[in-house]
């Protein structure tokens, strides 16, 4: 049998899966390598963190997803290095040769040089992050119910979210729902609706990457949900039980037992590896800058896609780290490989921005389309529809729909489990 072109894909996120899907009938052998055995639908991760959905609802086992791609095999493994000369990916326990390498290992959060804040202000990138944050949120209400000291009770009921991008706004909206609806009749001593939810943003408005009319709509919706907005404020310190903000007016310390990080993003470690092993030029966030065809300059056989890539259209800003970009880049990388095998060429990658959306709690959202902005209930329905459509695997779509319908009608969140290592966890 003829040796076929070997494609190795690192990362089973939106970019990697989109590439594998596009290549499924191509005359190539595909090896998809991921550290995890599932694809994660990150846009809904905040719903796991806030007890609205279960981890399995937003995760699809990778082997199940690519089962029908006869040319594709899945390897559970972690790439620790790349041998660009010999064209091999180095795993902890072995090496995998490639003819073309697609790297889409994504991003993690970034504390702007304050990595010690991570323990007090967890970010939300993995399922483990989500269940840990869920634990922290619901334990805070339990602790408030137990603590009879009113200052301490207040600190337990204060939630600070750093960063008012889509993730921060979604988290704030969900937290408000928890306090005002879900837990309404659950406690006998404390009143969960007294919880204070504070959304901190360094820019002068929430959703700073959106048009300003949508920022205003979002701010209005958040205020209606009793979320306190602190725009133009930067975080200068995070420690156990407290966070310090700096604004034009000066410094201020807020006593809060729960601080969630939705601010910075940093490329995964593979960015550094590509810099060292293939001479990639990386930006401040650790992302390799890619050529107009998504390849690394000097290494046409290495394509970088998704959140990991720093791609800019001529005279444009780098593309944002959203699923849409990742899906289009994964598809482009796959098509480029097929074109090259045919001896053909492909026009440069061009991102088709189909719009952006963020949801803000129950029945409120903002949608930015190229030709229209809208918000409120219609935007929320659009958000629901699009997210259900993009969830991988029909079964998850069905289960999420049932769960959402139930949550909406009952004001309930049945996945609000406090799970984790220590069986009795109130000694926070």
């Amino acid at each position: 049998m003829e040796r076929r072109h070997q494609v190795v894909i690192l990362g089973g996120g939106f970019a990697g899966l989109s590439a594998a899907h596009t290549l499924r009938h191509a005359p190539v052998d595909v090896t998809l390598i991921d550290r995890r055995n599932f694809h994660l639908f990150q846009p809904l991760l905040y719903q796991v963190a806030t007890g609205g959905l279960s981890p399995a609802n937003i995760a699809a086992p990778l082997r199940g997803v690519v089962k029908k791609y006869k040319n594709t095999q899945v390897l559970l493994g972690e790439a620790i290095d790349i041998d660009a000369g010999k064209r091999r990916v180095i795993l902890k326990d072995g090496a995998v040769p490639y003819d073309t390498l697609i790297v889409g290992t994504g991003a993690r959060h970034h504390y702007f040089g304050h990595d010690d804040w991570a323990q007090f202000a967890p970010g939300l990138k993995t399922l483990e992050d989500a269940t840990a944050i869920r634990r922290q949120i619901f334990l805070a209400f339990e602790a408030a119910e137990r603590d009879t000291d009113s200052a301490k009770e207040r600190a337990w009921l204060t939630f600070v979210i750093v960063g008012a991008g889509p993730s921060g706004v979604e988290l704030a909206g969900a937290l408000s729902e928890i306090a005002h609806d879900t837990l309404k009749h659950d406690f006998r001593r404390v009143d969960p609706s007294q919880a204070q939810i504070i959304l901190v943003e360094a820019a002068d408005r929430v959703l700073p990457s959106y048009p300003s009319d949508l920022s205003e709509h979002a701010a209005e919706s958040l205020r209606r949900l009793h979320v306190t907005l602190r725009t133009g404020a930067t975080v200068t310190e995070v420690r156990q039980g407290a966070v310090t903000l700096e604004t034009k007016a000066g410094k201020e310390c807020i006593a809060a037992r729960t601080v969630l990080w939705a601010a910075g993003v940093q490329a995964s470690r593979l960015g550094q590896v590509l810099s060292r092993a293939a001479g990639a030029q990386i930006d401040r966030s650790g992302r390799p800058r890619v050529a107009p065809d998504l390849s690394l300059p000097g290494h046409p056989e290495i394509l970088v896609v998704g959140d990991l890539a720093n791609f800019s259209h001529p005279e444009g800003k780098p593309l944002p780290g959203v699923a849409q970009v990742a899906i289009q880049q994964g598809r482009y990388a796959a098509r480029l490989i097929q074109a090259r095998l045919r001896g053909a060429t492909l026009p440069d990658f061009h991102y088709q921005d189909k719009g952006n959306m963020a949801t803000i709690g129950r029945a409120a959202a903002v949608v930015e389309l190229p030709w229209l902005h809208f918000s409120g209930y219609p935007a929320w329905l659009a958000w629901l529809f699009i997210h259900l459509l993009y969830i991988v695997e029909f079964q998850n779509r069905l289960l999420v729909m049932v769960q959402w319908a139930w949550n909406y009608l009952s004001f309930n969140r049945s996945a609000r489990l406090i799970t984790g290592e220590s069986p009795f966890p109130l000694d926070l």
Copy 2:
């Protein structure tokens, strides 16, 4: 306001919740104390361990469950001692006074004096156990796919289950489904259906507590599922990667990377506490022996219910640790309190055995009714129906139904996520 009778319930399992439910309109104040914030539907825990259901599907937040019981408050806490003289439960951080105490803190597994086996042969009692076992099972197949040494591959694909009671039988059936159906087309190198599933039982038949005709039906179903039965075999050693059996024929060592413990059960720590603090007589499993009205001899105000209690009808064996017993005992305890408040008496507790059932994989089960035994498909339907009926919270019932229907039709198990601490976990 008049001081009402204070009832404290330790444990939000079947027994505790059944007591709280029965007391919901009684003129008493109820405090329900649990270490966890949710009620766990233990009969389906093995389905979480085998990726068929999500943790939240079989757990119901306690505060949600008792929300409408106006006389009930929930305390997240762990009872570390009981002051029987002053009638107070001692928590890590405080004390709760009671007039009547209901203790239903259940049981955990027991390694017959070999606690060091726990690390190599995990048991299944908590949600954390279930996700850890799920991780271990699905990682084993991944490791087999990676390991090119055929003896090692064989050990990864060998699963030993110790104990052929209902839990062991259910686990074995589910594991067989995983190997033969769920993962059928998922791997490219290994054939999951080559997995060996070995069910070890010290007694001379599976389901030894059932009538022997049902044991035979179960054994037949298990053989049809390619499960190897090793009855009359005791485990004499468990270590990393191997388990040693002893039979009449001698000793035998099986190389297996996954060993699951479904054998012994031991009372929770509260059994010891009651022995020390209230003079309870405890049996070999650490369960307090209770009077015919479920109270501790000498302490009519302390009632012990569910798996924790050793209760025997005159001339009978102690009742088994099943949900049915717990529910009836919880209800009896609540009624006893109400009768005493009225100055009335209640006949002794009498267990109404409505039957027992165990399921063995897809479309097979055995049902023991007082007047009828049956097995196969009808038994499986009865099993499905009863379990759906008893799941707490309507939403979970709905979600489990959807999930089961899907799993059944698609042969899929979408909750087969490998989650946990170490991001790349193949260095087992």
